[in-house]
C-alpha cells in the first residue's frame, strides 16, 4: 500500500477514537438496539434465540449505516475534501482507505461486541460464533455500501436517516445471506458454506462497487 494511504488510514483512525470521535457511539447504539428489541418482542428466550441472529444483524446494519453520515461530511465542511480531490490521488482508493479506517474504528467493535450480546439473546456458542463470523465478513460490505450513501448525502445537513433510507435497499442482500449463513450454522442440515461464500463475494463486490460509486458521487458533489 502506498505511503499516503497509510498516512490517511492512521489519521482517520485517530480522528475516530479522539474526543468527539465516533468509535464508541456505534457500539453503544448497537447495544441499545439489541437491548430494546426484547422489550418489544417479549422476554421469551426461545423466541429470542430463534430470531437472535436476525436481531444482531439488524442492529449491526443500523449502527453501521447511521454512523456513516460523517464519513465524508466532516472532511467537506472544513475544506479537507477539496484538497483531497485536487491532490491527484486515486479517489477510489481514498474512499476504500477511509472505509477501512471507519470499519476498524466502528465496525470491528460491533463484531467484538456481538458475542456478548449473543448471551442476552440466549444464543448457544455455535450460533454466537456463526453470527460473529458472518458479521466479521459482512460488516465491511455494509460500510462500503454505506459509503455510497455517505458520498451522495455529503452536502446535506440531515445525513443520517436519509443515508440509511437510500442504502438499506442495497444492503438487503448482505443482510439476507448474513442471517441465512448464521441460521445454517445453527440448524445443521442446511449447508453453512454456500451462503457464507456468497456473503464473502458480496463483500468483495462491495469493495469494488462501493468505492467506485462513492468516488463518482464525490466528484459530482465537488462542482
Amino acid at each position: 500500500m502506498s505511503s499516503w494511504a497509510v498516512v490517511l488510514f492512521r489519521r482517520d483512525l485517530r480522528l475516530s477514537v479522539r474526543v468527539g470521535g465516533s468509535a464508541l457511539v456505534g457500539v453503544l447504539f448497537f447495544l441499545a438496539v439489541v437491548t430494546v428489541i426484547p422489550f418489544g418482542v417479549g422476554p421469551d428466550l426461545n423466541l429470542l434465540s430463534r430470531i437472535g441472529p436476525a436481531i444482531l444483524w439488524i442492529g449491526a446494519l443500523l449502527a453501521t449505516l447511521l454512523g456513516l453520515d460523517r464519513l465524508f461530511q466532516a472532511d467537506r465542511e472544513d475544506g479537507t475534501l477539496d484538497l483531497m480531490l485536487m491532490a491527484g490521488r486515486s479517489l477510489e482508493l481514498l474512499v476504500l482507505i477511509k472505509c477501512l479506517a471507519h470499519w476498524v474504528a466502528t465496525g470491528l467493535p460491533l463484531v467484538i461486541a456481538a458475542p456478548l450480546l449473543g448471551i442476552f439473546l440466549n444464543l448457544d456458542p455455535v450460533a454466537t460464533g456463526a453470527v460473529t463470523l458472518t458479521l466479521l465478513v459482512g460488516t465491511p460490505a455494509l460500510t462500503l455500501i454505506g459509503a455510497i450513501g455517505a458520498a451522495l448525502t455529503v452536502s446535506l445537513r440531515r445525513g443520517g436517516l436519509l443515508l440509511a433510507v437510500l442504502v438499506i435497499p442495497l444492503a438487503i442482500p448482505v443482510l439476507i445471506f448474513g442471517v441465512s449463513a448464521a441460521d445454517a450454522a445453527i440448524h445443521d442440515p442446511v449447508p453453512f458454506l454456500t451462503p457464507f461464500l456468497i456473503l464473502c463475494s458480496l463483500s468483495l463486490i462491495a469493495a469494488v462497487i462501493g468505492p467506485l460509486a462513492a468516488a463518482a458521487a464525490l466528484r459530482f458533489a465537488g462542482d
Partner: protein, 238 residues
Amino acid sequence: MVLPWLIGLCVIAFAAGLYMSFFVAPEDYQQGDTVRIMYIHVPAAWLSMMCYSVMALSSLGTLVWKHPLADVSAKSAAPIGAAFTFMALVTGSLWGKPMWGTYWVWDARLTSVLVLLIMYLGLMTLWRTMEDPIKAGKAAAVLTLVGALNLPIIKFSVDWWNTLHQPASVMRMDGPTIHPDILWPLLVMAIAFTLLFFVLHLMAMRNEILRRRVRALRLRAASAAQPGTAAATAQPAE
C-alpha cells in the same frame, strides 16, 4: 491526607471480607458453594445504584448549587459506576448459569440493571463527545437527573412487563434466611466495596481536576506567543 487511610482501610476490609466469604461463611444447603458469589454480587449491585445516586446528587450540585466541583464528581463517578454495574451483571450471570440454567433472562431486576449500564455508558459518551467540560457537565447533569426519575419507572414497568408475559417461570432465590454467618461476610464485603468506590472516586476526581488544569494551561500556551488578543479591561471614552 485522607486517601492513604482510606486505601489502608479498603485493603483491610477486602482481606477480611474475602477471608470470611471463603473460609467462614458456610455453603448453602441448596446452592452449595455458589452462594459465595453473593459476597461480590450483592455489594457490586448495591454500589452500582449508590454510584448513580452520587451522580444524581452531584448533578443537583451542578445545576442548583452551581458548585464547581460537582460536575467533576459526577464525571469521575460514571466510569466507576459502570464498572460496578458490569461486575453485578457478570457475577449475576455467572451465578445464574448454575442456578437457573441460563446466563441471562429478561427478568425485571436484571433488565433494569442492564438499562442502568446503558445509561452510564451514554453519559460517559456524552462527556467524551463534548469538548468543553463545563457545558458537557451541565448537559450530563440534566440527563443524569432525568435518568434518576426514569430508573424507578423502568424498575416498575419492567416488573409488570415481565410478569405479564412470563409469569413464574423466572425464579428468584427466595432469600436464604439471613443467617449471621452469611450476613457478616456480606456486610464486610459491602463496606470494602464502598471504600473502594470512595478511593477510586477521589483519585478520579483528582485526575479530572488535573485534566482541566492541563486544558486551561494549554489554552494559555496557545495564546501565549500571540500578542493582541486578550481578556479585557474596558475604558469608556467619549
